[in-house]
């Protein structure tokens, strides 16, 4: 840690991990409800547990992005953060808004929550991922504005590097696209059309800029490779992301009532969307192979490489799998979608946040460049447990999806949805078991912060010739 004010990242990272634990616990509840239909019914119906699961995911990733930003902006801009106080105030506002919203979901029926928060004045609730009361959404915008102001001023008064420029572009885009959450026309197709401007243009658009910038920052730090090289890669990656991803939105416009030319635009451009993710993998491995130093934080390097690989698998491979219109005709809205959603969100965004936490933690905790060997070993265990468990979750869901499509949509005697669900229950059981392993992985990650370790990892002087 070079600047004092980088320390404001710490509460953000702690909140992120705490909410991550909650998210995965609700994932397990959902997994059980899939096979034990009346589990917790009617106290926590499936739709409530699902909102908690997905909204916690989004909120903790946002905490992670903000923490990452507060951590890396001062170091990149080579100046203290404009206002650490404001950063702490917005932290508490955001946490309070998040926790109150989740409690609202759990404690009162959703319709009551909608009424109590005046949804009818400006109806924005009840759409997937955007379930938050309108008041919460306004709170998110206020927090985002304060946050952008704070880091924006910092960058303006400091050095403008490619990394902090790209990061700021991504964050500004994130806030801008969120404004479409307030547009909810009565015409269903129009509503869906713009709903994707939030959801798709986030994960396959502006968030990729945030992902690329954080990855580039960590790679510079752990490999010591020349900044010029890394920044050139970053530009190429984000160019590929937006050139393919913007029109790629069309892969969601095939069957919602939009004109049919979207089947062409969407298929062609989204088929190219794996490209930036593939380049990220090349980038990460290339930089690590050309490293000029062996950074003692081995765990962070592992997370960075893992992010690149898993993002490519989840977004690139599993995305391509169902993105062409003739394929999507059959896979649309099945467990194939859920499989892809899990691997893509995990590989790209969960892992990049865990990467920056892993890199920053020893410095925020005053342990120097790296945590003790024992702590790093635990962290690497959590890396493998989570990654392997997630791959299995996704393989089981893919199996369930293929059977579902066959029985419900392709075979000669298509069967009703519920009848099909019963026949593929075995896959859901196996998914839940893999989910428990995933949860253990999360707990091991947490445990790596709770154990002590005297012996501090040091840079190995040898093997620097590997860079040559």
């Amino acid at each position: 840690m070079v600047y004092q004010s980088q320390a404001v990242a710490k509460p953000y990272f702690i909140a992120a991990i705490g909410l991550f634990v909650g998210q995965v616990m609700f994932g397990l509840i959902l997994g059980l409800q899939y096979v034990i239909g009346d589990f917790l019914f009617p106290t926590i119906p499936f739709n409530v547990a699902r909102m908690v699961h997905t909204n916690l995911l989004i909120v903790w990733l946002l905490f992670g992005f903000m923490g990452a930003t507060y951590y890396l902006i001062p170091e990149e801009a080579e100046t203290e953060l404009h206002s650490p106080r404001l950063a702490i105030i917005t932290f508490w506002v955001f946490l309070a808004a998040g926790v109150l919203t989740i409690l609202g979901y759990l404690m009162v029926p959703y319709a009551t929550l909608a009424e109590a928060t005046g949804n009818s004045l400006l109806p924005t609730m009840g759409r997937e991922f955007l379930e938050q009361p309108t008041l919460t959404k306004i709170g998110i915008v206020v927090v985002a504005l304060a946050f952008l102001y704070n880091v924006g001023i910092t960058v303006l008064k400091g050095k403008k590097t490619v990394i902090n420029t790209v990061l700021l572009l991504g964050l500004t885009g994130l806030a801008l696209m969120f404004l479409f959450a307030f547009y909810n026309p009565s015409a269903l197709t129009l509503d869906k059309y713009y709903w994707w401007w939030v959801v798709h243009l986030w994960v396959e658009g502006v968030w990729e800029l945030i992902l690329g910038a954080i990855l580039a920052f960590v790679l510079i730090k752990v490999t010591g490779v020349d900044r010029e090289v890394i920044e050139k890669w970053l530009y190429v990656i984000i160019a590929a992301a937006l050139v393919t991803g913007i029109i790629g939105t069309g892969h969601h416009y095939y069957w919602i009532g939009a004109p049919e030319y979207w089947q062409w635009w969407g298929s062609i451009f989204s088929a190219l969307e794996p490209l930036p993710f593939f380049m990220m993998t090349l980038f990460a491995f290339n930089m690590v192979n050309r490293r000029r130093r062996n950074h003692p934080n081995k765990a962070a390097t592992l997370w960075a490489l893992g992010t690149a690989v898993m993002a490519f698998l989840g977004a690139g491979v599993w995305g391509f799998l169902h993105t062409l219109a003739p394929v999507n005709f059959y896979t649309h809205g099945t467990q194939i979608t859920a499989a892809h959603g899990h691997l893509a969100f995990f590989g790209a965004y969960v892992m990049i946040v865990l990467t920056i936490i892993s890199y920053a933690a020893p410095q925020l905790l005053g342990q120097g460049e790296a945590r003790s060997n024992r702590q790093q070993v635990l962290e690497m265990w959590s890396f493998w447990l989570m990654s392997v468990a997630m791959v299995f979750i996704v393989l089981f869901l893919t199996g369930a999806g293929i059977l579902q499509i066959w029985l419900q949509r392709v075979s000669e005697n298509p069967q009703p949805f519920m009848a099909v669900q019963e026949q593929i229950a075995l896959f859901y059981w196996m998914r839940t078991v893999a989910g428990i392993v995933f949860f253990i992985g999360v707990m091991v990650f947490v445990a790596s912060f709770l154990v002590k370790g005297r012996e501090v990892a040091r840079e190995t002087p040898a093997a620097i010739e590997a860079a040559a």
Partner: protein, 144 residues
């Protein structure tokens, strides 16, 4: 990456490419907006249908069901439920109205939402409207 390909070339491709494709996207959006009213039968979008959409949203139906393939995958697709129920709004209303408060033991159950008669009528009308949107022949068959 080769040295003759410089960072500023990469930067220009990023900004130029992004701006260009934003413009293409906006043009396509403009055309889509003009084409939509015919495809989604805007003339049938009555005040009751709009109210039905609000009932749909207020009760978070999307948290279990898909609608035109989007939403959750826990319960059946509802974009074509009007047809699956034999083009019968009454059947839809009775189904929603008769969900047991404590669910069906051991099975996935739909909650009892206690909708008023007006809300029931509106949401059924909304589902009927939705089933008439031109979705390029999706879903593949009546099972959704």
């Amino acid at each position: 990456m080769s040295a003759s390909f410089t960072k500023s070339m990469a930067r220009n491709i990023f900004y130029g490419g992004t701006v260009f494709f934003i413009l293409v996207f906006l043009a396509l959006t403009f055309d889509t907006t003009r084409a939509l009213p015919a495809r989604d039968h805007r003339e049938n979008l009555t005040a009751q249908v709009a109210e039905g959409k609000e009932v749909w949203e207020k009760n978070n139906c999307i948290g279990c069901h898909t609608l035109l393939g989007e939403g959750a995958y826990f319960a059946p697709e509802l974009g074509n439920v009007y047809e699956r129920f034999g083009n019968n709004k009454e059947a839809i209303k009775i189904f929603i109205k008769t969900r047991p408060r404590n669910g069906v033991p051991g099975r996935r159950s739909m909650p009892q939402f206690n909708l008023s008669d007006e809300e029931l009528e509106a949401v059924a009308e909304f589902l009927k409207y939705t089933s008439e949107i031109d979705t390029a022949s999706w879903p593949p068959n009546i099972q959704g």
